[in-house]
């Protein structure tokens, strides 16, 4: 039997967190949430998730800064950027910084399944 993955969703949108939580729980994941980059970095340290979905445009600390901070502490952490700001420049910037993938909002269930498979591969 596959191990239950613990996934951290980081997005300031309550709606996005609610929908993505339902999607991930439906795929058998345990889900924790953060509302901004600062909280994401803290939860990464405290909760030790298997993977992170990270938005870019967020209050206090944005996704790019959060990604940088997470990579410094935990270079192997699989991080999937999930943002509306999916320009090629942002894509390149975040992939260079070590993000595993970039999903442009609005996401599809298929994209989330693929991202989760990539996280699982890294986690195991």
């Amino acid at each position: 039997m596959e191990r239950k993955l613990k996934i951290l969703i980081t997005d300031d949108s309550q709606l996005l967190r609610k929908k993505l939580r339902a999607e991930l729980e439906g795929l058998g994941c345990e889900v924790i949430e953060a509302e901004n980059g600062k909280e994401a970095v803290m939860k990464d340290l405290q909760e030790k998730p298997d993977g992170i979905f990270l938005d870019i445009v967020m209050p206090e600390v944005g996704g790019i800064e959060a990604l940088q901070a997470i990579r410094e502490v935990n270079p192997e952490m699989p991080v999937i950027m999930l943002s509306s700001a999916g320009t090629p420049q942002k894509l390149m910037e975040t992939l260079k910084m070590g993000a595993l993938d970039f999903i442009q909002k609005p996401y599809t269930s298929e994209q989330i399944k693929k991202a989760l498979a990539a996280i699982r591969k890294k986690a195991e």
Partner: protein, 287 residues
């Protein structure tokens, strides 16, 4: 073939008036086109052939008669039976039912509609921008509005038209405005300004959640919708080597937006009207 903007085309051409539009959109949202109109649109029958069919002029009865007269093949009849709902045709059906149009007129209008090289949304927004003296912004505002309306239809499942008129300045009471600034290659602020009942319906449709009042979740839904549309616009702009960053969305209650290079577009949908506000920089909010 153009799709989804027939109502806008008719409004731009003055075939329908902005006074009628809300009622027509509402009816169209609840309707599906009947067989004759679908056959006309698919080029299976001409207006004259439709007129020649006597007796039952709808559904199975119409198909039976058309088949008997040798106007439709069995394959065509099956295709018509399984036709999915089409927004343009549903709207045309409402016009036919109200005797505002004939099959012959409709055939000509479909032909002209299909020959359009610029989307009717771009046409109306550009015209409104130029009338407002926004020559420099007209193309950009038109491009954004086209994407916005397309997204509105896609995520909120509604027929939409951009009104051709100047907005009527109403009281700001019981309303919300959500806006977001785009920075970098382009400096623009986009906003959705709606009375609470329409704002709430937009939130419900976008989220598919049973939201009962304009609460934090409802506001968040519209912020997220606008954020997604602006993100798609940024991706489009990147194809023209223009990098755009998005600021955090801003929310205000019971205010009227006032900005530089501001264009306020009245957007009518099957569930009500609201304003799409575009400006060159962050707009001030007047109570």
């Amino acid at each position: 073939m153009n799709s989804g903007y027939f109502a806008q085309y008719l409004l731009n051409e003055g075939k329908i008036t902005q006074t009628d539009i809300f009622e027509l959109l509402k009816n169209a949202a609840e309707n599906k086109a009947d067989t004759p109109i679908t056959a006309l649109r698919k080029g299976m029958l001409s207006a004259e052939q439709i007129a020649s069919i006597k007796g039952d002029a709808s559904g199975e009865g119409f198909l039976r008669e058309a088949g008997k007269n040798g106007l439709l093949s069995a394959v065509q009849m099956e295709e018509l039976r399984s036709a999915v709902r089409d927004e343009d045709l549903a709207f045309a059906q409402v016009l036919l039912d109200r005797k505002l149009i004939t099959f012959a007129e409709l055939a000509d209008l479909f032909k002209a509609y299909d020959a359009l090289e610029v989307s009717p949304i771009r046409t109306v927004v550009k015209k409104r921008a130029l009338e407002t003296g926004l020559e420099m912004e007209a193309d950009r505002y038109a491009a954004f509005s086209e994407l916005f309306i397309h997204s509105l239809k896609r995520f909120m499942d509604t027929t939409v038209v951009v009104n051709t008129c100047e907005p009527i300045h109403e009281s700001a009471e019981l309303s919300h405005i959500v806006s977001q600034r785009l920075l970098g290659g382009v400096s623009m602020v986009t906003g959705v300004y709606a009375k609470d009942e329409v704002f709430l319906e937009m939130a419900r449709r976008y989220s598919h959640e049973d939201i009962q009042s304009v609460d934090a979740l409802a506001v968040d839904c519209i912020c997220e919708f606008l954020n997604v549309v602006n993100g798609l616009f940024a991706v489009d702009a990147a194809r023209d080597d223009m990098e755009i960053d998005l600021d955090m969305p801003r929310v205000s209650e019971n205010s009227v937006p006032e900005g530089n290079f501001q264009l306020v577009l009245v957007v009518d949908t099957g569930f009500g009207g609201f304003a799409l506000v575009l400006a060159g920089d962050e707009f001030a909010l007047r109570s």
